[in-house]
């Protein structure tokens, strides 16, 4: 696939597919060969992230963005397709035990992602536990990492429950960077914390990227967070990429009708009127429309949209899955 960036790609996702089976099939269902139904959580997604850049997966619940993030770090197994880290398959690296420390994830809720019985410094040091680094060096690295996220030595001996929500999320970031991973998957890292703390965490993530060259795959539903963090944006809808391109192009000149609707729905800080709502509900994940998945809600729907799924069309550096751009 053609690369959108000049920098070298660290993470390459090619034709990733993840299906989740729905319901249990009884013996009778098998006898009558009733077909197994699936949720198409991620459907033929190809993306890539270059070193020291941020790719934002922007979408609503059910868009498959979190499943894709979990596939990247190996928490889920691909149904088909591949995901490569520096040219090697993530799956094989994981099976050989060579993945640990090279990919890290920061989850939405730090309260449930940090072990409540561990001291902060031990939480942070955990990704190094399996490595061959000596014990003394491990805690030194953990302290350094805590310093990098702006948490002092005072907090190192505390339990996560003694910290505020914002501090806990910093601990989660410290844990993610301690092994100096090649790619960090950030799954809604600020949606469970207050606005003033969100600014602190976003600033921290950008500073770490600038000074230490981390590569981020950021998952968010908030266009404002996406605008601040992104170099590239992939807008997802029901498991498929709707639009993929440089951040300023996707946000400044959205081409896919879904991207336009999503951005129009988000309230803007400088406007004092209500955003225009998109009509309708997303279709069921189990029985998706045959054609474009956005067709039932799309204001520009055409006959062919209902017949077949649009491929990604190249439009001045952006890729758009919409027949409006087929010329």
């Amino acid at each position: 696939m053609r690369s959108l960036t000049a920098n070298q790609d660290v993470l390459v996702i090619s034709n990733a597919v993840k299906l989740f089976p729905v319901g249990k099939r009884s013996v009778w269902d098998r006898v009558i060969r009733k077909p197994q139904r699936f949720v198409h959580a991620v459907d033929d997604v190809s993306l890539h992230v270059a070193k020291a850049e941020t790719l934002v997966l922007l979408g609503e619940s059910g868009s498959g963005k979190t499943t894709l993030g979990r596939l990247v770090v190996g928490l889920e197994t691909l149904t088909s397709g591949r995901i490569d880290l520096d040219g090697e398959g993530v799956r094989r690296l994981k099976d050989n035990g060579k993945l640990s420390g090279r990919l890290q994830m920061v989850f939405q809720d730090p309260t449930s992602s940090l072990d409540p019985f561990m001291k902060v410094v031990d939480c942070v040091a955990e990704p190094l536990r399996k490595s061959r680094i000596e014990k003394e060096k491990i805690s030194a690295r953990a302290m350094e990492s805590l310093g990098n996220v702006g948490l002092g030595e005072k907090l190192a001996g505390k339990k996560p429950s003694e910290l505020s929500q914002g501090q806990r999320q910093r601990v989660a970031v410290a844990r993610a960077i301690v092994s100096k991973p090649e790619v960090i998957v950030l799954d809604e890292p600020t949606s469970s914390i207050d606005v003033s703390l969100q600014a602190q965490v976003l600033n921290l993530l950008v500073r770490l990227q600038k000074t230490q060259g981390f590569t981020y795959l950021l998952i968010t539903h908030d266009p404002n967070v996406a605008r601040y963090m992104a170099d590239y944006i992939a807008v997802m809808y029901l498991g498929k990429v709707a639009e993929y391109g440089p951040a300023e192009s996707v946000l400044g000149n959205p081409r896919h009708p879904y991207t336009q609707a999503l951005l129009a729905s988000a309230p803007k800080p400088d406007e004092l009127s209500l955003p225009k709502p998109l009509s309708g509900e997303p279709p069921s994940m189990v029985s998706l429309p045959k054609g474009c998945r956005f067709a039932p809600r799309c204001p520009y729907v055409m006959e062919r949209c209902k017949e077949s799924q649009p491929p990604l069309f190249d439009k001045e550096g952006s890729l758009v899955a919409c027949y409006l751009y087929d010329h």
Binding site: P223, R227, Y228, M229, S265, L274
Partner: protein
């Protein structure tokens, strides 16, 4: 027009191991058809305010210390429990963050809305007819923009999406026709597209049926786009209260402006966000300006006591950097 609800000098304490002044000297009034947004971070006292106004706080640990809550003619703090019960639903109606917690999982949507209609009929003396009520259900579902009303009415809450369920809650509110709607983070659990749908429906309802509304949220952007007036809370006190335009376009309190500059409205290449340093802690509240420990403009004057609310143009601000006291 008279205010639907008039809160003056309301103070509420939580007494557990220590005492927390969860609300201190909170005053506001809301006219029919007006939306007051209450904005603050977690721990600011905004949810306590919603529960205090509707008398849903449990004692202990919560104690009303001072102040008055006047809902139309009823003095909420002196009224008997039975009087307040008869106001719930048709007088004041609460919508919470998670609609699944408010809806009965074992009842069809239709029956839950009819329950509301029946309550309204009983209290207002209307005659209740099942057939007419069923028609009314469809009307309410249509006005909250639920497309296939009769199909949705025969479903259970778990078969609907979060956005649909929250709109069902609003349909019940429509059925009960309250004079005051209190909504505590009603769209926080929703996606941006469902949020836009719910907010548009809500605004239409409030303006059309002249309800007063308290809208509690941590999201200043949503408050700015949805509310007529905004009260910014911090440490259990109103720090600034004015029209949405005053608060969003020209905030006076350093906390309000900090909240606005915290919003990511730029790109990372444009430099870091100017947020608010530190975090809120109840240990630091008391005796001085609650925001002083985190305020970029803090000086000695801030630590000489809790600043009074002062009038700046037509808004009120609790900050020593501004003018005279309102009555002095």
């Amino acid at each position: 027009m008279d205010d639907v609800i008039d809160v003056s000098g309301l103070s509420v304490d939580y007494r557990t191991a220590g005492v927390v002044h969860a609300l201190h000297d909170v005053s506001f009034g809301i006219r029919p058809g007006e939306i007051l947004g209450v904005v603050g971070e977690s721990g600011s006292g905004k949810s306590t305010l919603a529960l205090a106004v509707s008398r849903l706080l449990t004692t202990p640990p919560a104690y009303y210390i001072d102040g008055k809550i006047l809902f139309e003619e009823t003095d909420m703090l002196k009224a008997r429990a039975s009087e307040i019960d008869s106001l719930r639903g048709t007088g004041m109606f609460m919508v919470f963050q998670d609609p699944m917690m408010s809806l009965n999982p074992l009842m069809r949507i239709r029956d839950q809305i009819i329950e509301g209609i029946a309550v309204r009929c009983r209290r207002s003396g209307e005659t209740f007819e099942r057939r007419r009520a069923e028609q009314e259900v469809n009307e309410h579902l249509t006005s909250v923009r639920i497309g296939d009303a009769s199909d949705v009415a025969s479903r259970y809450p778990h078969q609907l999406s979060g956005g649909q369920n929250q709109r069902i809650m609003l349909a019940i509110a429509l059925a009960e026709k309250p004079r005051l709607l209190i909504a505590d983070e009603p769209t926080t659990a929703l996606d941006v597209t469902s949020q836009a749908q719910v907010l548009n429906v809500l605004k239409g309802i409030v303006k059309e049926s002249k309800m007063a509304m308290i809208y509690i949220t941590h999201d200043l952007v949503v408050a700015g786009s949805f509310c007529d007036r905004i009260a910014v809370m911090y440490g259990g006190m109103i720090q600034e209260i004015g029209t949405a335009e005053q608060v969003m376009r020209s905030p006076k309190h350093p906390y309000s402006s900090g909240l606005i500059t915290s919003l990511p409205s730029q790109r990372k290449a444009d430099g870091p966000l100017v947020g608010i340093s530190g975090t809120f802690s109840w240990d630091e509240v008391g005796g001085i300006c609650a925001f002083a420990p985190r305020c970029p403009l803090v000086h000695d004057e801030c630590k000489k006591g809790v600043p009074a609310l002062v009038r700046v143009d037509t808004r009120l601000v609790r900050c020593v950097n501004y003018g005279e006291k309102p009555d002095g």
